[in-house]
Amino acid sequence: MLAAKTILEQGVQVEGINFFTGFCVEGHTHAIRAKDKAKPKRNNSLWVAEQLGIKLHIIDVIEEYKDVLINPKHGYGANMNPCLDCKIFMVNKAKQWIAENGFDFIITGEVIGQRPMSQRKETMPIVARESGADDLLLRPLCAKNLPPTLPEREGWVDREKLHDFSGRSRKPQMALAEHYGFSEYAQPAGGCCFLTDASYSAKLVDLWQARDNNKAYDLDDVMLLKVGRHIRPRPNFKMIVAREEGEGRFLQGYKKEFMTMSSTSHSGPLVLIDGSPSDEDLQLAAAITARYGQGREADRVDVSITDKDGSTRTVQVKPLPADQIPEAWFI
């Protein structure tokens, strides 16, 4: 937002590009859960574009991004986040986009030293070089700490009006936001990508391991990792237990792709079953399902098991006590 505003202030036409990888943290994913209903349901990139009065192009890169995630040349960060490869990929896509749409250069909001992996002084030239953007890539917020780029050398932008921010402190950015009159902005730090999240990354690794390390995935796979309590009682199957009504509604949409379970004698959550459970496994899964419903203290709970084709049967189980669900089952 600040980088775009800095360039807009110089009278340069700016349009925004937002890449959707499938792993983006957005208010809407959180909004599935009722506890997060108070959060605004806006898309931050659209909101920023509207504040700036610029067009925004949201680009679906889900398919192309798979190779970035599965085969990151520069490796992962603390979790499954391939930040440097991701940045290179996105800048490269932006370079293609500007060529196709008649724009002259690319700007990003990167600041030297702000992120431990992709925004270090040593890695910033790598992004420019390996993306192929080279000196068409201008970072207005820290440009004065970097060699002049083509837009600066050609006088398309005035280097003197760019900034020299560096480091992890957001104070200069906050001061600049105040200068521009931005009283509200997307929260800094914390990441905007689920791949930086340890819990999410563990679920992703589990998904791959359960598929004999076949790392292929589709969008539903990665969306479901964001929702519910994930429990793997046996290597051959996993349960996704809705934690509340909103998640239950969301999981309902997958009833044709997964076997489902829910308690019928007591109220309880919808549970998706992923994998190939045996009949014995299904009894265990039903007992776990019963444990998460209102019948958790009952002697017997009826649990319906519905196959993907809609056929349903009911089993009667004793709910599994909480102390018989090992911590290791929770992904």
């Binding site: 806006r42 898309n43 659209l46 949201i58 679906d60 509604r249």
Partner: protein, 75 residues
């Protein structure tokens, strides 16, 4: 003028917007598009996307977990 429908049910933000954006590219100024989604965020995002890109929201409706937005493609 044609009117088309886009099924964006089950898609979470920003996919309904991306699908809308892609569909609108195939339409002409004055055409109408009805977008049906299940993510309540579409009620905020698609109008915002329309405002940014010069399209007009004609109608919005929320009914039993489904959200419908009818937009008219701008020039």
């Amino acid at each position: 003028m044609t009117r088309e429908t886009l099924n964006a049910r089950r898609l979470l933000c920003p996919l309904p917007v991306i699908r809308t954006q892609d569909k609108v590219k195939q339409l002409k100024a004055g055409d109408q598009l009805e977008v049906i989604g299940t993510d309540p965020g579409v009620m905020q995002d698609i109008p915002a996307w329309c405002r940014i890109n010069g399209h007009k929201v004609l109608e919005t409706q929320a009914d039993d977990g489904e959200y419908v937005i009818v937009l008219e493609v701008g020039g």
